[in-house]
Every structure is written in C-alpha cells, then in structure tokens.
C-alpha cells in the first residue's frame, strides 16, 4: 500500500489544487518556516481518518479548511484524495483485491457536512478503516511522527509510552 499520489484542494494553506506524486525510495520535503510542509503531513493524517482536530493543531475540524489570507477569501470546503498502489491484494477487503490502485478521499464543508470516498464513490469511515486495517496504514502512532513529537517520547510517562507499542501489537 505505497502512496502513489496525494491531492489536496482547500486544505489548510493549500488553497489551489495540488498534486504530490510519490516515487520509489525516500522523498524529502523542504521549504521555509510556515510554507506548508507540516500541512502536507496533516493532510495525510486527515484523509486517513484522523478524528481529533487537536492532533491537527486546530480547535475544531473546520480549521482544516482554507481560511483565506490577507488577499484571498476563505474557501467553503477542504478535500484530500490519497491514492495507494495495491501491491498486497491479500491485505485488502475482497471487493478491492482486483484493483491496481485504491483512492481514498475525504471532504469537509464549512456547513459541517463531511464525506468519505473510496474510488470516487461515497463511503463510510468504517469502510475506510477496513481498507487500512490489513496493511497497517492506520498505525499512525509510529508511522507518522509529527513535528515536536519525537521529543515527547522520552519525557512521556511510562504509561503513556505504552500506547505506541500497543499500536503495533
């Protein structure tokens, strides 16, 4: 389940539709402070089904919708699509095993209306979680390390650290 492509529009500072293509090997993301690098990480976390606005640095989930700049008005919805290569069919629910690629999408409107999509068709969060379960894509406790979190692992209390290993168990 390698990531082939990430597409964002209206997500945080990515006002315009942006496509990130991921190749083999190690991908680096660079740029000045505040340009949007960690927002790309947030987009991945969000489209994988993150339910906590706080873990995306927001106070409510609406905070992920492009809120405008000094010269641009806010947008009314945020959308992120992530496309995976299906390199391990056995790990997926039956209905997806024959496909070369799987695309998962998530949309949030300022009205509060929220949608998930699987291969462009409406789906529930439950379906999205089923897709990720077998491949371990959902184990973000140790597969996505947000900025500042590496320092917390050592200073955390012993009981809190347990969670990261539990995710792998």
């Amino acid at each position: 389940m390698r990531i082939r492509r990430l597409e964002m529009v209206g997500f945080k500072s990515f006002m315009d539709r942006t496509v990130v293509a991921f190749d083999e090997g190690v991908t680096g993301v660079v740029g000045p402070n505040g340009c949007g690098k960690s927002n790309v990480a947030d987009a991945i976390r969000w489209v994988l089904g993150e339910q906590s606005a706080m873990r995306l640095r927001g106070r409510s989930m609406e905070d992920v919708i492009f809120n405008g700049s000094e010269s641009k008005p806010p947008l009314s919805f945020a959308e992120v699509m992530i496309t995976f290569e299906n390199d391990r069919p056995a790990e997926l629910p039956n209905e997806f095993r024959g496909l070369a690629e799987i695309t998962v999408g998530r949309r949030l409107h300022r009205t509060g209306e929220s949608e998930y999509l699987v291969n462009r068709a409406p789906a529930r969060l439950l379906d999205v979680n089923d897709i990720f379960f077998g491949s371990g894509v959902g184990r973000t406790a140790y597969s996505i390390i947000e900025q500042g979190r590496i320092g917390q692992i050592v200073s955390a209390r012993a009981e809190d650290r347990r969670g990261v290993i539990e995710e792998a168990a």
Binding site: T27, V30, G31, F84, I144
Partner: protein, 159 residues
C-alpha cells in the same frame, strides 16, 4: 490481549537493542515493562547508555541524545510491524552531523521495504533523499509545491 502486547513488547525490545547502537555508533539501551497495578497496565521505561558513558536517568541525556533514543524506539517498532509508509516531520532537527548521517543511512536501508517521507530543514538529509519537493509561499498564505531535483533525472509532476 495482554499476551500479544507482551510478545510484541519483547520483539520490539530486542530490535531496540540492535537499532540504538547502530544510530549511536555504540552504547546500549533497552526497555523495561514496569509492574502492572491492579487496574493499571504496566508502563514502558527506557534505559539508554550512549557509548563510553555511564548508564544514568534518561532525563540527564542531551536534547540530541534523547531525540535519537526516541528515533531508535520508533524505528524498532517500525521494523517489527512495518507500515507501508513512514512520515517523519523534522525529527533530525536536534541532531549533529554525525548522528544525522547515521539516521539517514538507516532510513535509506529501511526505505527498500517501506516508503519514507522526510520533512526537513537539514542539508545532509536533503542530499540523501531520492526525490525532493519544495513547498513555497510566493503568495503569502497560499502554499505551492515545486519539484526541486531528482537524483535519477526524471521529473515528478507537481501541479
């Protein structure tokens, strides 16, 4: 279940004991599961001894040593139960040149089996990666993605 956690814990601990000296170029480290209370589950204690130093309370370690110890643990878990991809946001920020070099070498090796995405300000990390994307904000408040350079000469489309 408690057995499954215990089994995973033991495997992670074993791997952690291998990864730590790899990243620190020596030294040793380990995990200890503290006693379970009646209602509480045991916590995970970390012991870490950089090369040539004495084993002390982990809090006395330096900022960079703490970060590298945490990276060793994360990588140990990842090696036991790999995810298809791993995204690391500026974990190399507190590391000196020697440690960044070893970190990047291990990432390169792990990238044969999983996809790695590194957000970084570090020049050495930038030199190690295979594909490099730049995020810019020419227009304040509006992010754009650009392709910076690729080691194999091909181009990634970034719209």
């Amino acid at each position: 279940s408690r057995e499954r956690f215990r089994e995973t814990f033991d495997r992670v601990n074993e791997k952690f004991q291998q990864v730590f000296p790899r990243l620190f170029n020596g030294g040793r480290a380990g995990l200890v599961l503290t006693e379970d209370g009646d209602d509480q589950q045991g916590g995970v204690e970390i012991f870490a001894q950089p090369p040539g130093k004495k084993l002390q309370n982990i809090n006395l370690l330096s900022g960079g040593e703490k970060a590298l110890t945490a990276v060793s643990l994360i990588f140990a878990i990842f090696l036991i139960k790999p995810s298809p991809f791993c995204l690391l946001d500026e974990v190399d920020a507190p590391l000196d040149e020697a440690n960044v070099g070893r970190y990047n070498e291990l990432v390169k090796e792990m990238a044969k089996a999983s996809q790695f995405i590194l957000i970084t300000h570090n020049k050495r990390t930038m030199e190690t990666v295979d594909t490099l994307y730049g995020v810019t904000m020419e227009e304040p408040g509006v992010s754009k993605l650009v392709s910076v350079r690729l080691s194999d000469g091909s181009r990634s489309a970034a719209a």
